[in-house]
């Protein structure tokens, strides 16, 4: 008769089950429903066609150039924003580490982009920063003699613009986390390294980088998750356009479901996005644990 353990068990379950139930209801059940939908033809614009369709949506996806385009854009978007955030964030953290007095003000400045709603950030950039003629960037480019451009309307520039927006908003996160991590590194190992005649670059490579690596990995994982599900900022800035120039998989699924009202196909797109996200996060956590 093990009353001690069973009491603890009952208590634990009483605390945990409500949250689990909520999650089950709000995530797992809809997920099942989503997969179910993806196996159907469900087009609100052509309701007479509705019915079970098996893997038809997925097959169609395979031959859909817009899908592959969105997949490609997702890869480019996620890859470039995460890499930029880490590179810029780390460099800035290293630099700022050396001016302890400035850190307070910079922390305040870094908080601002993070707390803003992504949709507002998108709108800001669309209207005040990237608008032709009076937007900040356009003013600057004209002043530098690079001329005025349609930063969001030109298919080539649009992707770069949305990448810039996302990077602007989330680099402070990487910056703050890495700055905090760097600040916890013990100074004596650097002193030892200096006595061992290690130069600045060597100290960075052999001491700083390995010690900061766990934090960097965690930042990469978290930022990847955000980039894969990024929606509001792009929606606000370009809506996915011009055409499909900034239509990452996220947006493609949304547009298909709610603009074109083809919920069946939209569901299948969403399922694919989910599968990709789960696969990547699983991989990343495995990698992290292996370290």
């Amino acid at each position: 008769m093990r009353t001690l353990a069973s009491q603890e068990r009952r208590f634990a379950l009483a605390l945990l089950v409500p949250a689990l139930l909520v999650l089950l209801l709000t995530t797992t059940t809809p997920l099942v429903y989503l997969v179910w939908n993806s196996l159907h033809r469900l087009d609100l614009g052509m309701p007479w066609l509705s019915g079970f369709a098996g893997l038809e949506n997925y097959v169609r996806m395979g031959g859909d150039p817009r899908f592959w385009n969105s997949l490609w854009l997702t890869v480019v978007y996620t890859g470039s924003t995460v890499v930029l955030q880490v590179l810029i964030g780390l460099s800035l953290a290293l630099l700022v580490l050396q001016i302890p007095k400035g850190q307070g003000v910079l922390r305040v400045a870094a908080i601002l982009p993070i707390v803003l709603a992504p949709v507002v950030v998108g709108l800001f950039w669309r209207t005040l920063v990237l608008a032709p003629d009076f937007g900040l960037v356009d003013v600057a480019s004209r002043a530098l003699g690079l001329g005025s451009h349609n930063w969001l309307g030109d298919p080539q520039l649009a992707l770069i613009s949305v990448i810039a927006i996302h990077t602007w908003q989330w680099t402070p996160f990487a910056f703050l986390v890495l700055l905090a991590t760097l600040a916890t590194l013990p100074p004596d190992i650097y002193e030892a390294a200096r006595l061992d005649r290690a130069g600045a670059w060597q100290r960075f490579f052999h001491i700083t980088l390995p010690l900061v690596r766990p934090a960097i990995v965690m930042v990469i994982i978290l930022r990847m998750m955000t980039a894969l599900s990024a929606f509001a900022a792009i929606f606000a800035a370009t809506g996915g356009g011009p055409g499909s120039a900034t239509e990452i998989l996220n947006l493609y699924a949304y547009r298909t479901s709610f603009t074109e009202l083809n919920l069946g196909y939209g569901s299948s797109l969403a399922v694919v996005l989910m599968a990709i996200t789960l696969a990547i996060s699983f991989l990343m956590f495995r990698l992290r644990r292996a370290r």
Binding site: M1, R2, T3, L4, A5, Q7
Partner: protein, 356 residues
């Protein structure tokens, strides 16, 4: 319901997966006794303490407090108090609130609580710190706060888990004596875990020596010091540790490292033994036979001296009042009083009983 504080463990076995932490522990502690559980790290003494507290479950065996089987009772239902190694003070409460907490939990009236808290705090000497928080106290003060919290509800059993290990050396010695005095004045049974054998020797009425999940000897500190049950216990008790040498016993003498020396009380037998000589009993040989040794180095501790000898690759220690003209590198011959020899069976390590 008598609350005397008698503690018994019967055949307690504790396993962690495939590893057995305790191999059947039997203890009988009398009410009011200050009982030490002594042993190296990982020997099972802390596990035993936590089983008494009810913080760990047993796989086999029984725990009895005052003849009641409490093996499966919740920690809170056993009327047991514990002082943790880290003190486990509630950091967000003042000292007063910390000490009052156990009384608050059993619904004691506010007036009675305040009085009891003041009394407990005064007993341990922190009556002036009641309004402070643990974070504002020194290590020694925190320890006393933990003590006060333990004694405030007059439990029937005190458990102390290496309570002095976080204090600096001098404070440790002072607190040791105070703990003893406190326990005496309260008359509450105390079970005290430590790996420091000197500590156990000075505070305990009786102690149990733990090795690898088993109790190898129970007795008063004096008994254990004078007659350790086996070679491992012998090596563990005493500072510096007992010198142990391989030897051959025959006809009342031992052959050890080329010397033949008499031992008392072991006539007639012949066997391979481990010879144990305490540093205080290791002397220079007079005219008789002696073990050839070289003085390795001398540690002068002020009021006594420890001389390290090297004998065929093994280091022996001797403790005496002064170095008496010995210098490093000197060759000497070592001997001992026949009655001071401890003999243990070479294979089992068990003590050989003395005859006569």
């Amino acid at each position: 319901m008598t609350r005397l504080g008698r503690v018994r463990l019967e055949g307690v076995v504790k396993r962690h997966g495939t590893f057995t932490a305790l191999h059947g522990i039997d203890l009988d502690i009398a009410p009011g006794e200050f009982f030490a559980l002594l042993g190296p790290s990982g020997s099972g003494k802390t596990t035993t303490l936590r089983i008494l507290a009810g913080l760990e479950e047993v796989d086999e065996g029984r725990v009895l407090l005052d003849d009641a089987d409490v093996t499966h009772r919740e920690p809170g239902e056993r009327d047991v108090a514990m002082v943790f190694q880290s003190y486990a003070l509630y950091p967000h409460m003042t000292v007063e609130q910390n000490i009052a907490f156990p009384l608050k939990m059993i619904g004691t009236a506010a007036g009675d609580t305040a009085a009891a808290v003041r009394d407990a705090a005064a007993r341990v000497g922190i009556g002036h710190l009641l309004a402070r928080r643990p974070g504002q106290l020194s290590g020694g003060q925190q320890q006393r706060c933990a003590l006060a919290r333990a004694i405030v509800r007059k439990p029937r059993l005190f458990l102390l888990d290496e309570p002095l290990s976080n204090l600096d050396a001098k404070l440790r010695l002072e607190t040791r004596a105070e703990l003893r005095k406190l326990q005496r004045s309260l008359g509450i049974t105390a079970v005290y875990v430590t790996h420091d054998q000197e500590e156990a020797m000075t505070v305990a009425d009786r102690m149990a020596v733990f090795m690898e999940g088993r109790i190898v000897q129970i007795g008063t500190p004096k008994e254990i010091f004078l007659a350790p049950a086996n070679a491992t216990v012998a090596a563990f008790i005493g500072t510096p540790a007992m010198n142990l040498l391989p030897a051959q016993l025959a006809d009342g003498r031992v052959q050890v490292h080329g010397a033949s020396l008499p031992v008392a009380g072991h006539g007639g037998e012949r066997r391979a033994v481990t010879l144990g000589i305490r540093p205080g009993d290791l002397q220079l040989a007079g005219e008789g036979d002696g073990i050839d040794a070289r003085v390795e180095f001398i540690e002068d501790l002020g009021d006594n001296v420890i001389i390290n000898f090297e004998v065929q690759g093994q280091r022996l220690k001797s403790r005496r009042d002064r170095a008496q003209g010995l210098a490093e590198g000197q060759q000497v011959r070592l001997s001992f009083e026949p009655a001071a020899a401890h003999l243990f069976d070479s294979a089992s390590g068990e003590r050989l009983p003395t005859t006569a």
